[in-house]
Point group: C2
Chain length 191, copies 2
DNA sequence: ACACCTTGTAAAGTTTTTTTCCAAAAAAGA
DNA sequence: TCTTTTTTGGAAAAAAACTTTACAAGGTGT
């Protein structure tokens, strides 16, 4: 592994830490601008600033999280979301025991207020962490109220107008995929 | 959208429900065997049986879940895992308040017993739902004890021997990706 | 001034994914 | 029975995505 010199780091060095090739690192960084200096590499501090600058230059999106079960609560607690210039304006649930509570700085509202809230606040993104059987109905509500993107954790194929972007996350499929590759690997090792 | 005829469904019909092309559906199904009949399509009941047969013909993997926070609890409650012929043999945590409890049929044990349990039970897969700062240490333990695959939810690049398969799930990155495409779409719509 | 690094980017190469195409199989109508 | 229609499975072609190679241009140190 190449060693880091004072304050600077080369694409080769970065690559070895990330498990990529030097060319990939350069290409990916270059996509957003010129952050390095030829013959030297990337100055760590500068690179960090530049990346943060690119990320925060992206316009802010405001979103709601719908369904405060275990998974929803986990996401509310997860700090990584703010990094993406994403702001959870409110969470929604149908359970009266949860409504009115606050997770961090996010308030839990009654799902009946969802449409009104989305319209009033100009919400563009919804994170769906509701049970599978309610997912389509909730998505329909959110889309009708004006949401443009959905991050869907329910194991259901949502049907939405094509101008709405859905990103599907199925934890079961991730696991199956891992197991599949494990089996492939052990099988080919035997044969 | 094509209509379904009694008991049978064509690849084109399946495809339209899944948002794929007919050819893709046929190719993907054919990968595991011949389930359809030319001129007719796939008999729904038969296809379902065949898919279940393929899935359960895959050898069973046993795994442990490490870190019973909100996310861990959500996964323990999620029934989709059993479908993949995957069995969570036990969960682990370091919090004495959680140790000894039972989620569904899964018992929560002390993380100190992790290595011993993995070896004793021949566990092959670990699901990591621990905080980022403990992820590498826990992964090291699991790998040393014999785990061959890791499903990692901590936003950390695990470093493991290359014979160990790691599947990384970063919910923050999923969200960023969604936002990125949303921005791309709205920008190109303007210009 | 010269030798040596290392970036950014274009071009080439590779891999993966998707689509197209068609022989063969099944059903339905003549 | 024979022909037409439908639809599969799989081969071959096409397209797309991803990686690597290659190198001019920009910088550093002697």
């Amino acid at each position: 592994m190449p060693k880091a010199s004072s304050g600077s780091i080369s694409s080769e060095n970065l690559a070895s830490h990330l498990g990529l090739s030097d060319a990939s690192v350069r290409r990916d960084l270059a996509y957003f601008g010129k952050f390095g200096t030829p013959g030297v590499g990337y100055k760590a501090e500068e690179l960090k600033e530049s990346i943060l600058a690119v990320m925060s230059s992206q316009c802010l999106y405001r979103g709601v999280l719908i369904g405060v079960g275990n998974l929803g609560a986990a996401l509310l607690a997860y700090k990584g979301l703010k990094l993406a210039n994403f702001d959870i304006a409110a969470a929604f649930d149908r359970d009266p025991k949860k409504i009115g509570k606050t997770y961090g700085s996010v308030k839990i509202l009654d799902v009946k207020e969802l449409a009104h809230f989305i319209q009033q606040e100009g919400i563009e993104v919804a994170i769906l962490t509701v049970p599978a059987q309610s997912a389509q109905a909730v998505a329909d509500m959110a889309v009708a109220a004006g949401v443009k993107g959905i991050l869907n954790f329910a194991p259901v194929n949502l049907s939405v107008p094509e101008e709405v972007l859905v990103s599907q996350i199925d934890l079961g499929i991730e696991l199956e995929s891992l197991l599949y590759f494990l089996r492939e690997r052990t099988h080919s090792a035997v044969s």
